[in-house]
Structures are given as structure tokens and as C-alpha cells.
Subunit: 253 residues, 2 copies
């Protein structure tokens, strides 16, 4: 039985708590939360604290707070030489305070409040300062996910940047598609099967193989007609830059 203390009560903390609760090999002994009500539906109230001095002994302390707060929170822990990890994609492991043994436990997924996810399919990227700690983190990660990867801080940073492209930026392109549909009184739902298929396609093809469209086939007439159609200057600029990028990328392949 591995004993875990969770520090934080946001989206990631809550989803981890849900996953750990289902696992007989893991016991969440305590949750540090400034707001009782954020986690009181997921763990008994006597296990919730908002005082660092009250933190009990555990095998792992998982800090699931905003990136900015990691340095501060890890420096306030009133003990030494225990295993303390954060869950951030972009913060270095070195942001953690030197008083304790450091590690990272980064589940790479977008968590929506209230929408349960299947943790088995979520990749967990782990890293540790010491080999023995790696084995503990691996055990915990394996117990909730089928996809566990050893990823160092530099690699994790590249993943985080990539995730901005394939998640945040992709979602913004959905928003632009939605806006164009709205302007023309067309239901956005018509595009949903295409969106789904576009994502599905790269499970079996590489994105370069899956690329189609007027930019890829250098169909100047269609590109010109799309640019004329777009009334929003910002949409036009994005259209031009991404079209150019697809064409330059095609030349490199």
C-alpha cells in the first residue's frame, strides 16, 4: 500500500483523487486544500487540512497547484528528505525545494471540471532525482494508467509546447470555424464529424501523411477565393500563415 498526500484541490488534484480512490493499492492519507468544499465530496473531511504543520507522514507528496505556486508551496513543507513531486508540464523538477527528494508526476491530458476521464488512457510522464524514487512513482503511475513514460524536464517542456499547438491552438481553430459558421447562419454541428475524423486519422497515419486541402495541393484558385471570402483580418492572417507553413513543410518532406 502506497500512501499519498495530495497538495492542491484544483482540476488535476480532483481527477487524481478520483483515480487513486478507485485503486486498492493506493491510500490517499490527506489532502491539503484551502477550500474544504473543493474536495469534501471526494474524501472524508477529517483527512482535509489547510495547515502545512498538520501534514502527516506519507510515501509521496503530490503538489498539484498552479505553476507559479510550486516554488512557494514546496518551500513551506515542514519536513525534510521525503519524496515531493509536482504535476506540471512546464515547470522544471528543479523548481521544487531542495529540502526534499524531487520528482515529477505529469498526467498529460486536458481536464474539464465535472467531466470524468478514463485515467487508464492518460499518459503519465514521470521523472525523479533518485532511482529508488523512480520505482515508487512508476508503481503509482502504473496502477492508474496503461501509458507511463520516463521523461526528463527538457523533454517534458517540449511536450508541453507541443500540447499548446495540438490542444490550445487546435481548439482556437475550432472557435474560428465556429465563428465563420455563425456569421453565415450555418450550424457548426455540420463540422463535428469532420473534426472527429481529423483527430482519428492521425491515430493510424502520421500528420504529414494525413495532410490534405488547397494549401497541400497548391490550389491557388481555391486559396484566393477563400481569402476573398474571409472578412475578418485576423482570420485572413492566420489563413495565410498556416497555408504558407503547410506549403513550406511540403517542400521539406
Amino acid at each position: 500500500m502506497i500512501q499519498i498526500t495530495l497538495i492542491g484541490s484544483g482540476n488535476v488534484a480532483q481527477h487524481l483523487l478520483l483515480a487513486f480512490n478507485k485503486n486498492p493499492d493506493i491510500e490517499v492519507v490527506q489532502v491539503f486544500s484551502r477550500k474544504l468544499e473543493s474536495v469534501s465530496h471526494l474524501i472524508s473531511i477529517d483527512k482535509i487540512t489547510d495547515r502545512f504543520d498538520d501534514l502527516a507522514e506519507a510515501d509521496i507528496y503530490i503538489i498539484a497547484v498552479t505553476d507559479d505556486a510550486i516554488v512557494e508551496v514546496s518551500s513551506q513543507l515542514p519536513f525534510k528528505n521525503r519524496l515531493v513531486v509536482h504535476t506540471s508540464g512546464s515547470a522544471s523538477m528543479e523548481n521544487l525545494n531542495d529540502n526534499n527528494r524531487k520528482g515529477v508526476f505529469y498526467p498529460l491530458q486536458t481536464f474539464t471540471k465535472g467531466k470524468e476521464v478514463d485515467f487508464k488512457t492518460i499518459p503519465i510522464c514521470i521523472e525523479s532525482q533518485f532511482n529508488d524514487d523512480y520505482n515508487i512513482l512508476k508503481k503509482v503511475a502504473d496502477s492508474i494508467s496503461d501509458k507511463v513514460f520516463m521523461i526528463n524536464s527538457e523533454q517534458r517542456k517540449s511536450l508541453h509546447v507541443s500540447a499548446v499547438f495540438v490542444n490550445n491552438f487546435v481548439n482556437h481553430l475550432y472557435a474560428i470555424g465556429n465563428a465563420i459558421c455563425d456569421e453565415n447562419q450555418v450550424p457548426f454541428e455540420i463540422l463535428q464529424p469532420l473534426i472527429k475524423e481529423t483527430a482519428d486519422k492521425i491515430m493510424s497515419l502520421s500528420p504529414n501523411e494525413a495532410q490534405t486541402g488547397p494549401a497541400k495541393r497548391n490550389d491557388k484558385t481555391t486559396i484566393e477565393s477563400h481569402l476573398n471570402f474571409l472578412s475578418d483580418e485576423n482570420h485572413k492572417n492566420i489563413y495565410k500563415l498556416l497555408t504558407q507553413s503547410i506549403q513550406d513543410n511540403g517542400k521539406k518532406l
Copy 2:
């Protein structure tokens, strides 16, 4: 029984042929194909022709060729006053020759050679010059898809532009994510569950509601650190433009 002649033998023609073949209410009486072997696995050889003069009588002639060829092909049909439709997202219905009754039968999906799709879930956008023809097209569309929409040429154009954003451009962002992973010896598959969830999310939330990330929360430290991390100038430019666009969009909401 509705009798259909398909003109063309590319991806769209083949996928339509597959869908029609499964449907007892529709008979594909002929396929016009310059290459016998493109469709000979889908229909008996005596029903394939490469001469316009050999085209038999049918209720609908579906021209599934490249946008550029629609004007030319429709002008070569050796008959008058029959129902002739094209399958293009971007070409106007008016591109069809005046000799015949015009219409559009546009299945909005990305078709991959050899990968069968479930036509039931593919939106079909139909348009016609005459009301009676609309009813025939609707009957055919309903028989292969659960999602049939009446969409005029202007609306269809907006859909086609949106589709470039949510399909072609989104796929290109996947390609950039993949390139960043490759540069850092990180397996791209780690990002696949995130990509899938990003697409799934907007089936229940609007893209604006689903937006997350450093741009959205104006996290300048992370944005700066990502820009420093990116070595490719083109990736940097795309990162900047899309970050700015997310922030401007946030102000409008």
C-alpha cells in the same frame, strides 16, 4: 428505386459508390471513369464507361471530379434537362452547365483511400435549382446519411472555408506538434489521447467554453518560456499569432 450515374472515380466517387451499393433503394446504373481499374472492384465492368456518348438514362448524374473539371465535364454531357449535381464544397452550383437541371450533393468529410467511413454520420449538404429535384436529392441523401442539410452555395462556401481551419490547419498543427516531439526524442503518441480529448470536448462544449492554456489565462511567463524554447522561426510566428488571436477573442466574448 432511384437510378444514379456516377461521373468520376476518385476518393469521393468511390466512397459514394460503396455507400450506394449497400442501399437497396438506389441503383448505380453506370460509372464514368477514365481508368477502369479505379472502380472495377466496386461495380461490374460492363457498367463502367469512359465515353460521354455511352451514358445511359438515370435519375441523377453525380459529378464527383476535381473542382477545376466541373465546368468542362458538365458541358460535355450529351443530353438536356436531366438532374446533374456536383459534390464540391467550394464550387458554386452555377458552375454546372445550363443544359441540365442543377444541384449539389456535398458530403462534408475527409475521405482517405482504403479507409471505410460510416456514411450514416457524414453530413450531406444538398442544394437544387428546382424544388422537385430537391426532394429527389433529399431522398438519396437520407438513404445513406442521418444528417442531411439544405445549404445554399454561399453557406456551403463558408462551410468549406471553416473546414480548412478545423481540418487542414488543425492537421498541420498536429504536424508541428509531431516535429517538436521528434526534435526532442519524445514519442508523439504521448499526445494522441490529448488530441482525441480536444476533439471530443467540443461535442459537448462550445470551442470558446473549451478554451484553456497560457494564452487564455494570459500567463506571460509560460508564453515567454515557450517562445524561447521554440527554435523554428515559423513555429514561433504561428505561436505568436495564435496566442494573440486567442487573447483578442477572449476580450470580445
